[in-house]
Amino acid sequence: MINRRTLFRNAAAALAMPLLDPLRSLSDEVRAVRITDVESFRISLPKNGGNDVNDQRVYDYGVSRVHTDAGISGTAFIPCPDEILQRWIKPTLVGQDLFAIQRHIDRLQMQRGESGVQIWSGVEHAMWDAIGKIAGQPVAKLLGGTRDKLRVYRTTVWPSQKQASGSAAAGDSDQSDIAYETQAKFAVRLKDAGIEGMKVRAWRPHPMDDVDMVGVVRAAVGPGFHIMLDRTAVRPGWVWDYPTALQVCRGLEKHDAYWLEEPFDGHDIYGPARLAAEVDILITGGELAKSTYEFVEFLVNKTYDVVQPDTRICGGIWMARKISMLAEAFGVPCIQHGTASLALAGYVQAGCAMANCEWQEIIGSPNLPQEQWEPARKLLHTDEPFLIKDGFVLLPDLPGLGLALNEDAMKEYRANA
């Protein structure tokens, strides 16, 4: 039993339990923590670089925030649209138990069907931030803690050069105006910075062009570096047929690419399964799936070699954690689909709890993650939101989602609604 005196004597305990009221002993009843308010707002940081399209640092952030009657708030850098917030989230959450995550999911699903939980992801991340802060622990530690760092790969999307000159047209995001050598040069830069993998789009109009590009990248970075290809088939607006996918995979294998992501429609169960059975390169996907039920279909049908839930799209940290448990039961790695800048906080917590998650994707333009989130340092008490060391993003040793927010700065840069 902890009494006031032993607690004060035990500095370790005080650190581990920064929030423990010394007057409360463990035999006292635990008070329920109620959600008192939920809000979402924008943070807008001053742009030093003007409106240069090549300045790909992130200045604008959507924020979700949960307030509780324990005097602790939780914050996540994922927004929640106001209409959704007023109509669904607040009536479901305000006055309710902060810790009853699954019950809130059940209620949202009852009200809105399977997609009901997708809308609350930002708020859910904020709730976990509050939960971790009240518990005095990083969220990853509360969810079965497995690791304290995740290997980073950089998903790199080059801004369209036509867009830069003001003549953007649909399809330019297919990277067809980017030289293979430009992509190769950036891969080398990542490698020199200690990052061990890069993912790029496979959207070029001639699919084998992307295979040639990988060849150029491989020649530049040498062996060992991980090269991933993302087809995200729904986004470029057209889906490969099976022979094309097979041909691309064979080409990618020659250049020792690591994986091909979503070769077909994101909800296609059998196409990727057929491809995965036929080729050696890993076939991955799942970022669009919104429920555990959909992932069970992927797993039972061997759709993907690696499943990639997105903790914003699938319904939050707890949902992603559940999906990782499902994948683990089927012996399938669960490597979360990623995000950028401060939104990363919840992803890192979820990933570090998972037994089968080795990598963390950080998405951005051709810059380093640290450059991308450089403007956000203004919002923090710490120098960096996340430490990247030897190619790994480290689990922050702070409670909750691990961001040490400077509330004065949060107020100063809060955008007027």
Binding site: M1, S27, K141
Partner: protein
């Protein structure tokens, strides 16, 4: 439900006042010691003979955060060497890593780890693992003293116990279907339902593999299973548990397809893979991982996540008395509709059978029952306030 007193509320707020603390580095919590030992709480010979529970194996996990976790579902004492080797010096919170290193084999030790985690986080464990519910309907599994197959028990005694249980507020009871002629058990079912009515749930446990040594009983062939399941269904039974061999994933599935009565099982499986096989084979209508055998609280939670995705409920195989604390946290995290309370020795009711257990608790409270439901213990960890001095007093010296 829980009204914070003014004192508590002020104390709580004062604790949160130190905003700086939110930005202080969290120090990893290390396991500094583990112990596993037996205790024997004094009870009269007559009470023990009647089934009163007074012996436990305690698992104790000591941390460098000044918090100790306990469970009364400890592993065999002989495991202690391995347990200590696997856990001492390790990060308390990295449960998944410790499970992979062998913790899953030592049941109650994992519960004690979660007890310490919950106490450090100052929350009940179920709230950290999804917190799906804060109460669960209990059913009592009754096994009469004497022959394992219960052939010595009169039908009237079984009916009387069911009526007593119902009067005590419980909503369900499970008994064995082990008698040499299973139609005798069907007759018991008919009589109990007649005496208790439709809102009282009666479950039947075949535990098909276990009785071989205990009662010379054999695993039914499929036709017998089908016939008895149909008879039990007609007599109003709620479920039939483990009608066939545990390694047989297909026969229960075939049976479940052909009858309406629920076919359940799973208590003997360890880790998640056998449950996955059950789900892929549609073996059971309800999965019943055991809070210890399956690998602990966390593995049960994982089984439930898997089962839920196949639209199959998870209802933990149960246990009794102080052991129940860990099981209950898993059940509440999952939001399971029932919690088994086992094994009850008629005519005792749970609180009578568990009375000696209160002697090792400082707060003289084990579980709260309300209208046949087990309530979430409103305390941190797995909810027991263990009296260290009492444990020392009752420790069995070996």
């Amino acid at each position: 439900m829980l009204k914070p007193t003014r004192r508590k509320f002020l104390g709580y707020s004062a604790g949160f006042g130190a905003v700086q603390a939110l930005h202080a580095a969290v120090k990893p919590v290390r396991i500094t010691d583990v112990d596993v030992f037996a205790i024997s709480i004094p009870a009269s010979e007559a009470a023990v003979a009647a089934g009163v529970q007074n012996r436990y194996v305690v698992a104790k996990v000591v941390t460098d955060a000044g918090v100790t976790g306990y469970s009364f579902a400890g592993p065999p004492l002989s495991a202690l060497g391995l347990v200590r080797e696997a856990l001492i010096g390790k990060d308390l919170f990295n449960v998944n890593v410790q499970l992979q290193n062998g913790l899953w084999q030592w049941g109650g030790v994992e519960h004690a780890v979660w007890d310490a985690i919950g106490k450090i986080a100052k929350r009940p464990v179920y709230q950290l693992l999804g917190g799906a519910s804060d109460r669960v309907t209990a059913y009592l599994t009754c096994v009469w003293k004497g022959a394992a197959d219960q052939s010595q028990v009169s039908f009237d005694d079984q009916v009387a116990m069911a009526v007593k249980i119902k009067k005590a507020g419980f909503k369900g009871m499970k008994i064995r279907v082990w008698r040499p002629d299973p139609l005798d058990d069907v007759e018991v079912c008919r009589r109990i339902k007649e005496a208790t009515g439709n809102d009282f749930h009666l479950m039947f446990d075949r535990t098909a593999e276990m009785p071989v040594s205990m009662a010379g009983q054999q695993v039914w062939d499929f036709e017998t299973g089908l016939r008895i399941a149909r008879e039990l269904q007609k007599a109003g039974a709620y479920w039939l548990e483990e009608p066939f061999a545990r390694s047989d994933y297909d026969s229960p599935a075939k049976l479940a397809e052909r009858v309406d009565i629920l076919i359940t099982g799973g208590e003997s499986y360890s880790l998640v893979a056998p449950f996955r096989e059950c789900l892929l084979h549609r073996t059971y209508d309800i999965l019943q991982p055991d809070g210890r055998q399956a690998g602990g609280i966390f593995r049960c939670r994982e089984v439930a996540v898997l089962a839920e995705s196949f639209h199959v409920p998870t209802i933990l195989h149960g246990t009794m008395s102080l052991l129940l604390a860990g099981w209950l946290q898993a059940t509440l995290a999952i939001g399971a509709p029932w919690q088994e309370v086992a094994l009850i020795t008629p005519p005792l009711l749970p609180e009578e059978q568990w009375a000696p257990g209160l002697k090792v608790l400082k707060r003289k409270e084990m579980f709260r029952f309300e209208d046949g439901q087990l309530l979430a213990p409103p305390y941190a960890g797995i909810g027991l306030d263990v009296d260290e001095e009492a444990l020392a007093r009752y420790r069995v010296r070996t």
